[in-house]
C-alpha cells in the first residue's frame, strides 16, 4: 500500500500501520476523578500481534507485549466527546481489534498508544479494510477499481467507500465516463447506506470547492440525487438530499439555479415524473416548495 498521506480521505491510506491484534488479558484499574470532571483509569493489557496488514513492526505475528492504556469517560453511559481511542472499546480477553496507526516507529507498544494509534476497529471495520487492501494489491485502473468495488460496496461500511473515493477521486472528476460509473454505484440500490452516503458527500464536497466545477458532473450528480429520492434503500439520505444537497448543488439555495431539470433529465420524462411524484409525496422535505417549483419546469426534447 502506498501513499500514507496525512490528507488522504481514506484511513486505510493515511495509516502507516494496519495491525490486527488480540487482547489476551485485560486488567482494569479503578476509575479516578480528573480535574476536568471526567474519570480516568488505566487498563493493563497483554496483546498479541496477529497480523501486520500494512507497515513494518519489530514484533512478529504471534508475539505478545504488555501494554498499559488509558481510558477516560464520564463514568456513566453519557458520551459527549472522543475520550481517546482506547476509551471507545471494552478491552476484554479474546477481543480482536484492527489498529490504524500512523508513526515512524516499528514498535508495537508505541504504535498502539495514541496519538500513534488513531483508530481501533472491530470485525466489521476489519472486513472493509481487508477488501480495500485486496483491491489495492491489484493495482487497478480507476475504471477497474470502480467495477470491482461496486458489488463489494453492498456489504461495505464507510472505510471501503472512503478508500474507493481516495483512489478514483481525480479520475472521476476528469472523466465523464468514470463519473457515470461512480454515479451509478451511488444510485445502485444494493450499495450500502453508509457507503452511498460517503461516496455521494465526497464528490458533492469536492465539486463544491472546485474553482470551476465541471458542469456535466454537477448535472449528473443532481440526477443521482433526484433518482435516490425514489430509492427506498437510500431512505436515510432522503431528507438531506431534498433539504440540503439538491438546493445547494443546483444553486436554489442562493436563489439562482445554475441549471434546470431539462439539463438533468433530457428527454427522460419518466425519470422527471418520478422525481416530481416522490417530492410531492414528501412535502416535509421541501417546506418552501423551491425544489418542487424548480422541478416543475418540464424537460425539453433533445
Amino acid at each position: 500500500v502506498t501513499n500514507p498521506a496525512d490528507d488522504s480521505p481514506s484511513e486505510v491510506l493515511r495509516a502507516t500501520h494496519l495491525l490486527v491484534i488480540q487482547i489476551m488479558e485485560a486488567r482494569a484499574g479503578d476509575w479516578t476523578q480528573e480535574p476536568d470532571g471526567l474519570k480516568r483509569r488505566v487498563v493493563e493489557l497483554r496483546v498479541r500481534l496477529e497480523h501486520v496488514w500494512k507497515g513494518d513492526t519489530r514484533q512478529k505475528s504471534g508475539d505478545e507485549i504488555a501494554l498499559a492504556v488509558e481510558q477516560r469517560g464520564t463514568g456513566t453511559y453519557r458520551v459527549a466527546d472522543d475520550y481517546g481511542v482506547w476509551s471507545k472499546v471494552e478491552p476484554a480477553a479474546g477481543l480482536r481489534l484492527l489498529a490504524f496507526c500512523r508513526s515512524s516507529s516499528n514498535d508495537l507498544a508505541e504504535l498502539l498508544q495514541p496519538p500513534q494509534c488513531q483508530q481501533l476497529g472491530e470485525a466489521p471495520v476489519a472486513a472493509d479494510v481487508r477488501v480495500a487492501l485486496e483491491l489495492e494489491m491489484r493495482n487497478l485502473t480507476p475504471a477497474q477499481l470502480l467495477a470491482a468495488a461496486a458489488p463489494l460496496l453492498a456489504r461495505a461500511r464507510g472505510v471501503l467507500a472512503r478508500y474507493v473515493w481516495a483512489r478514483v477521486r481525480e479520475a472521476v472528476l476528469a472523466d465523464e465516463k468514470l463519473f457515470e460509473l461512480y454515479a451509478r454505484i451511488i444510485e445502485h440500490p444494493p450499495t450500502s447506506a453508509e457507503a452511498r452516503d460517503v461516496l455521494l458527500t465526497a464528490v458533492y464536497e469536492e465539486l463544491s470547492l472546485a474553482a470551476a466545477p465541471p458542469r456535466g458532473a454537477l448535472i449528473r450528480l443532481a440526477r443521482t440525487m433526484l433518482v435516490l429520492l425514489s430509492v427506498p434503500q437510500a431512505q436515510s439520505m432522503h431528507a438531506n438530499l431534498a433539504e440540503v444537497y439538491l438546493p445547494n448543488l443546483t444553486g436554489l439555495s442562493h436563489g439562482r439555479p445554475e441549471f434546470g431539470p431539462s439539463s438533468v433529465f433530457g428527454a427522460d420524462g419518466n425519470a422527471w415524473a418520478m422525481a416530481r411524484r416522490t417530492l410531492a409525496s414528501h412535502p416535509d422535505w421541501d417546506p418552501g416548495g423551491q425544489l418542487a417549483r424548480w422541478l416543475a419546469q418540464p424537460p425539453r426534447s433533445p
Partner: protein, 681 residues
C-alpha cells in the same frame, strides 16, 4: 553710536539722518527712541565733550549698501568748529521661516506667519531609527539689501533639533546634519531663499522649547528665529471589548477586554511607524465584531504635554499587490471604519469595525491645518510627514457560501445492555468519517481580508462551531418499583446543577436523602475542550475544525465543520431504589449551533489571551435536536418515538453579527460540567 568732540566744547551739536531705516535709542535695550525733532537730537557741548552714546537698530532694510547717512553738526560756542562728522550705515534684514507640512508632493508648504513661527511654532516627531518621520522645511530668505556681502549663521537652538540640507527632505541613513553653526555667505541665498530641513532629535520638555536661529555673522547672533516642538506620540492603545457572558455567573464574568499597544518602548521603535503589515503587525478583527454600545476604545499619550493630537484612519491604497483590491473595498458600504474622536479628550477616540480591508489608524499632529493626515501622497511619494504613530488594522469580511450541514438520524441507535439497561449512541466522534455521526455541522464560508488578494489577516483568523445546550435536557429513565405497594414509577433524569458535590449516588447522581439539585438555567456552552469558554476554540466543539482554506481570486473559501454524537443510557436498576427496574427511556436533547469567527494576532486558534481571541462574531446558526424514546421489557426494546436528529431554523447573518448581539453563550460553565442525575424519587 558714540558722539563726542575732540576738545572741550561749549556750543551744541545736532545729529541728523537721511533715512528712517535705522533708529537710535538711548539704551541697548528699551530706552527712548530719538525723534529727531530738533530737541532730542540736539546735544550740549558738555555732553559731547564727555561723549554721548546712542544705540542703532535696523528698522527697515536699506535699499542699498551705506544708504543711511548720519551727520553730527556743531554750532555756537567759543571754539573753532570743524566740518560736520558724517558716517554711513546699512540696515540689513534677514528672515528665517518655517513651514507647515506639505499637502502633496510637489506642492510647496505654506510658511507660518511671522507671529506663528514664534508663538505657535512647528511640531515635528522625534526621529526613529527607521527614518519614518518627516522633517520641517526651514527657509533662509534672501538678505535685504541683496548686495550685502557678509556671512549668515544658521543653527539649531539646541540639541533637540538637527538641521539638514535642502536635498534631504526625506530622511535616510547616511545623511549628515549641517554644521552647527552653519555659516555661509549671504550672497549665496537665492531669490527664492535657501532651504533646510529640521528634524526632531530628542523630545521637547515643553512646547516650543526648541527651534532654529539665523544670525548675521559677526554682527548679530540671533537676527531671526523659529520655534519647534519635538513631540513623541507613544502608548497608542486599542482596548477591544470581549464578548460578554450571556449570563454572568459562576465566575465567568467580567470577561477581560483585549488590549493592544504600540509605542511602549523607552526609545521609539521603528516598527510602530511603519505602514507595512508585516513589519507592524495589524490588529485583526472581523467586521462588526464590536457593537456601537461598546466600540474599540483608543487612546494615545503625547510628549510634551499640550501638543494637539488628532485621529486619522486611512485605507491602504498602495499600488498592487499591497493596497486593497476594489473587490475588497466593495464588500462594505463604508469606505473607512467609523473613527470618533472624544469630544472632551483629544487623546481618546473610539473605533467601529464597520468596513472591510486594510487600514492605518493614526493619532497625528495636524501640521498644516487641514485636519487630515498626510504622509505619502496619493501616488505613494513620501512627503514631509506630519507627526504620527500607527496601529495597522485589518477588518475581515465573512459570508456564507453554502450550508452543507446534515443530521443523520440513522446513526442514533438504542441497544439493550447486559442486565436490561439501555445505551443510546449516535456516532464515534470521528470528524474524518462524518457519515457515521449524528450531526455534521458543515459550511463553506468566504472570508476576505485586506490587500490585493484579500488574504491579508486571514492567517490570524479562525472559525469553529460553538454549540449550546439550549434547553434543559430531557434524558430520563422510568423505573418500575414493584417492591412497594402499590407499585410505582421512579425516575432518574439529567439536570444541570451547581451542587454536584452534594450528590452521594456516585457519578453526580442525587439520590434519596441528598439535597435538591441547585439548577442552572440553560443556555449552556457545550464543549469538551480544556479550560472551556476562555477564548478562541475553547468555545467550540472538540471536533470542530477548519478542514480546508482554499484560495479564491479574492480571499479564501473555508470549509468549517464539526460533528457531534451524544450518547447516554441507563442501567437496569434505579440508582436510588435498586428494586426499581428500567422500563422506559427518553433521550431528548435540544441544541443551538453557531458558526463563530474570531481572531488572534498570535496566529493560534486557542485561548491565546491576545487580541482578539475573546471577541466572537456569528455568521450562521441553527437549532438541532435529538429525539428518541423506548420501552424496555424482557430484554427487548420497543420504539415509542423513532430516533431522529433534525436541524431547523437555519439563519444566516449577512454581515456576521457580534456574538454579543446573538443568543450564543461562549463562556463557562459548560453543560457537561454541570451535568448530573436527579434520582431522588
Amino acid at each position: 553710536v558714540r558722539l563726542r568732540t575732540d576738545v572741550a566744547f561749549d556750543g551744541t551739536g545736532l545729529l541728523t539722518r537721511n533715512s528712517g531705516a535705522v533708529g537710535f535709542y538711548t539704551s541697548a535695550s528699551g530706552g527712548t527712541a530719538l525723534k529727531f525733532d530738533g530737541t532730542d537730537n540736539k546735544f550740549t557741548g558738555a555732553g559731547l565733550t564727555g561723549s554721548v552714546t546712542l544705540y542703532a537698530e535696523g528698522i527697515a532694510p536699506s535699499a542699498a549698501l551705506d544708504d543711511v547717512e548720519l551727520k553730527l553738526a556743531l554750532s555756537g560756542g567759543t571754539k573753532t568748529i570743524q566740518p560736520d562728522a558724517v558716517h554711513k550705515m546699512t540696515s540689513v534684514e534677514v528672515t528665517l521661516d518655517i513651514c507647515q507640512s506639505r499637502t502633496a508632493a510637489g506642492a510647496d508648504p505654506t510658511p507660518l506667519s511671522a507671529g506663528d513661527k514664534i508663538n505657535v511654532g512647528r511640531t515635528v516627531h522625534v526621529q526613529d531609527a527607521g527614518h519614518h518621520h518627516g522633517r520641517a522645511l526651514v527657509i533662509v530668505r534672501q538678505v535685504r539689501p541683496a548686495a550685502y556681502a557678509g556671512n549668515l549663521s544658521l543653527r539649531p537652538r539646541d540639541a533637540r533639533v538637527s538641521l539638514f540640507a535642502a536635498a534631504d527632505e526625506v530622511p535616510a541613513a547616511g545623511q549628515a546634519a549641517i554644521a552647527n553653526p552653519h555659516v555661509f555667505a549671504a550672497s549665496t541665498v537665492p531669490g527664492a531663499g535657501l532651504k533646510f530641513w529640521a528634524e526632531g532629535a530628542s523630545v521637547s520638555a515643553a512646547l516650543r522649547d526648541s527651534g532654529a536661529e539665523l544670525g548675521v555673522d559677526g554682527v548679530e547672533p540671533v537676527a531671526d528665529r523659529v520655534t519647534i516642538t519635538v513631540a513623541r506620540l507613544r502608548r497608542l492603545e486599542a482596548r477591544i471589548p470581549a464578548t460578554p457572558a450571556k449570563r454572568a455567573r459562576m465566575g465567568n464574568s467580567p470577561v477581560p477586554a483585549h488590549v493592544l499597544r504600540r509605542g511602549t518602548t523607552a526609545a521609539p521603535d521603528r516598527t510602530n511607524y511603519d505602514v507595512d503589515f508585516t513589519t507592524n503587525p495589524p490588529l485583526v478583527l472581523f467586521r462588526d465584531a464590536v457593537r456601537a454600545a461598546a466600540p474599540v476604545a483608543l487612546s494615545v499619550q503625547v510628549e510634551p504635554a499640550g501638543v494637539p493630537v488628532r485621529w486619522s484612519v486611512q485605507r491602504d491604497t498602495r499600488p498592487a499587490p499591497d493596497g486593497d483590491a476594489a473587490d475588497v473595498i466593495a464588500l462594505s458600504p463604508n469606505g473607512l471604519p467609523t473613527l470618533t474622536p472624544d469630544g472632551g479628550d483629544p487623546l481618546k477616540a473610539t473605533l467601529m469595525a464597520d468596513a472591510v480591508g486594510s487600514f492605518h489608524l493614526r493619532p497625528f499632529v495636524d501640521a498644516n491645518g487641514d485636519n487630515a493626515f498626510q504622509g505619502d501622497d496619493a501616488g505613494g511619494a513620501r512627503i514631509d510627514r506630519e507627526p504620527f504613530i500607527i496601529m495597522n488594522l485589518v477588518l475581515l469580511n465573512v459570508a456564507l457560501f453554502r450550508d452543507d450541514s446534515v443530521a443523520r438520524s440513522a446513526n442514533m441507535v438504542a441497544a439493550v445492555t447486559g442486565g436490561g439497561g439501555i445505551r443510546v449512541t449516535s456516532g464515534a466522534f470521528d470528524i474524518t468519517a462524518p457519515a457515521g455521526e449524528a450531526i455534521h455541522m458543515n459550511v463553506l464560508a468566504d472570508v476576505v481580508g485586506g490587500g490585493g488578494d484579500g488574504r491579508r489577516g486571514l492567517d490570524r483568523a479562525f472559525a469553529g462551531w460553538c454549540n449550546n445546550e439550549a434547553a434543559n435536557e430531557d434524558i430520563a429513565g422510568t423505573f418500575r418499583d414493584a417492591s412497594v405497594a402499590p407499585a410505582l414509577n421512579r425516575r432518574s433524569f439529567t439536570v444541570f446543577a451547581s451542587n454536584l458535590a452534594a450528590s452521594t449516588g456516585g457519578n453526580n447522581t442525587f439520590i434519596p436523602g441528598d439535597p435538591a439539585p441547585a439548577l442552572v438555567a440553560p443556555a449552556l456552552l457545550d464543549t469538551g475542550r480544556g479550560t472551556p469558554g476562555t477564548g478562541g476554540d475553547t468555545a467550540t466543539l472538540t471536533r470542530s475544525r477548519i478542514r480546508t482554506r482554499t484560495d479564491q481570486p479574492v480571499g479564501q473559501r473555508w470549509r468549517v465543520e464539526s460533528i457531534d454524537s451524544p450518547g447516554d443510557g441507563d442501567g437496569a436498576n434505579h440508582p436510588g431504589f435498586p428494586a426499581a427496574v428500567l422500563t422506559r427511556f427518553r433521550f431528548h436533547l435540544d441544541f443551538k449551533a453557531y458558526l463563530c469567527f474570531w481572531t488572534s494576532i498570535s496566529g493560534g486558534s486557542g485561548a491565546t489571551g491576545v487580541a482578539c481571541c475573546r471577541v466572537y462574531t456569528v455568521l450562521h446558526e441553527y437549532t438541532w435536536r435529538m429525539r428518541g424514546e423506548w420501552t424496555i421489557a424482557g430484554g427487548a426494546l420497543t420504539v415509542v418515538t423513532a430516533p431522529s436528529v433534525r436541524i431547523s431554523g437555519r439563519t444566516t447573518h449577512n454581515p456576521a453579527v457580534a456574538a454579543a448581539d446573538s443568543p450564543i453563550e461562549v463562556r463557562a460553565p459548560t453543560g457537561l460540567n454541570l451535568l448530573g442525575r436527579d434520582a431522588r424519587a
